[in-house]
Symmetry: C2
């Protein structure tokens, strides 16, 4: 096994692209004026209208043996030519619900089996100035009677993903270590950790 690496980048014509397409929309602004807007889109979106899910797994000790934890993944992402730290995630297949995708992808990427769905977020948009990509965040419960153990992943051939358990309250500290090693953090996961930290900060500011 060697380091993943981008070898070359070239222009791609829309007609040759399979996984991402360019579109141009004409929209009417509040003054009634027609304007153009260019964006990228995934042709893989299933008929349910949602591209993908991310999975926030709550690893929880029923005996109090460990602090509430979650699972993050590390994988090489060719578009950014870096190893990226993200929540487990995956594209929703045709006929699949967001919850089904979440349970399937969590098990494939991390080996963990969710016992039940805690919450599915409404539809969220990922980068709405540049793409029409959308997603739902599915929070799932993964209870442990006792000790937390790392199961075996069920990766498909060609998938190279490292899964890691982290205490939820230590995410921001863990990200600092990753950054020193040259990894980058997914913006959504980073914002989750920033929100968590903000709650702690505001609580400490209270009289």
């Amino acid at each position: 096994m060697s380091e993943s690496k981008v070898l070359s980048v070239e222009d791609l014509h829309t007609s040759d692209a399979k996984w991402v397409k360019l579109k141009k929309t004409t929209w009417r602004d509040p003054d009634g004026k027609q304007r153009p807007w260019e964006f990228a889109t995934r042709p893989t979106r299933a008929s349910g209208g949602v591209d993908a899910v991310a999975i926030l797994a709550i690893l929880r000790s029923e005996s109090g043996a460990f602090a509430p934890s979650t699972i993050i993944i590390e994988q090489f992402r060719p578009p950014v030519d870096r190893y990226v730290v993200e929540l487990p995630a995956g594209l929703i297949g045709e006929g699949e619900s967001a919850e089904e995708t979440a349970i399937r992808e969590l098990e494939e990427e991390t080996g963990f089996k969710a016992s039940n769905i805690i919450r599915t977020s409404p539809l969220l948009v990922c980068d709405p100035g540049m793409t029409n990509a959308n997603m739902k965040l599915v929070t799932v419960d993964v209870p442990f009677p006792e000790r937390l153990e790392m199961p075996a992943q069920k990766l498909e051939p060609g998938e190279y993903i490292t899964a890691r358990i982290v205490e939820i309250s230590k995410l921001s500290a863990v990200f600092k270590e990753y950054e020193k090693k040259g990894f980058v953090i997914d913006a959504r996961l980073s914002h989750f950790a920033s929100g968590f930290e903000m709650a702690e900060t505001l609580r400490q500011m209270q009289p």
Copy 2:
């Protein structure tokens, strides 16, 4: 003033696109195999290597007259044909630092002047399976001796942005109202609120 609306969407050829391009990379996987990956990119990235900033403004009462708050914006986003709720944000100009962009965009989009920078995040990637888009989250301090007042925005022609002050601890509740009205929430802002809520939930679970 009328509602914004998408009138039509058509395919766009890479050579005709100005604001977003398609690329194909060849990367080497950990087994040494060469693989293709398609993605979208912004040709507008400045030489600093960062596309954009989002701004988390901490509106803070020096006298304790109001709870710590932030400012969110509502704007129509043609790629998703919906009104989207986001943090204030903007593309970094050539020669501009992330912090300069943050202060400039916050004032343009909301009228608020930041008194100082609290923190600039490391580089974050926005949707690294689909695009190479990246950003930094800049947290800024906006102190008020007394009452919180909404200043006038300084929008450019063709910018239609509504700014709204929200208590940080009420973001999730406010998002539920927006969803009922047909707005969608930006995934990064939503993850921030989810992280905040998670901290509250874990605190309540503690003995």
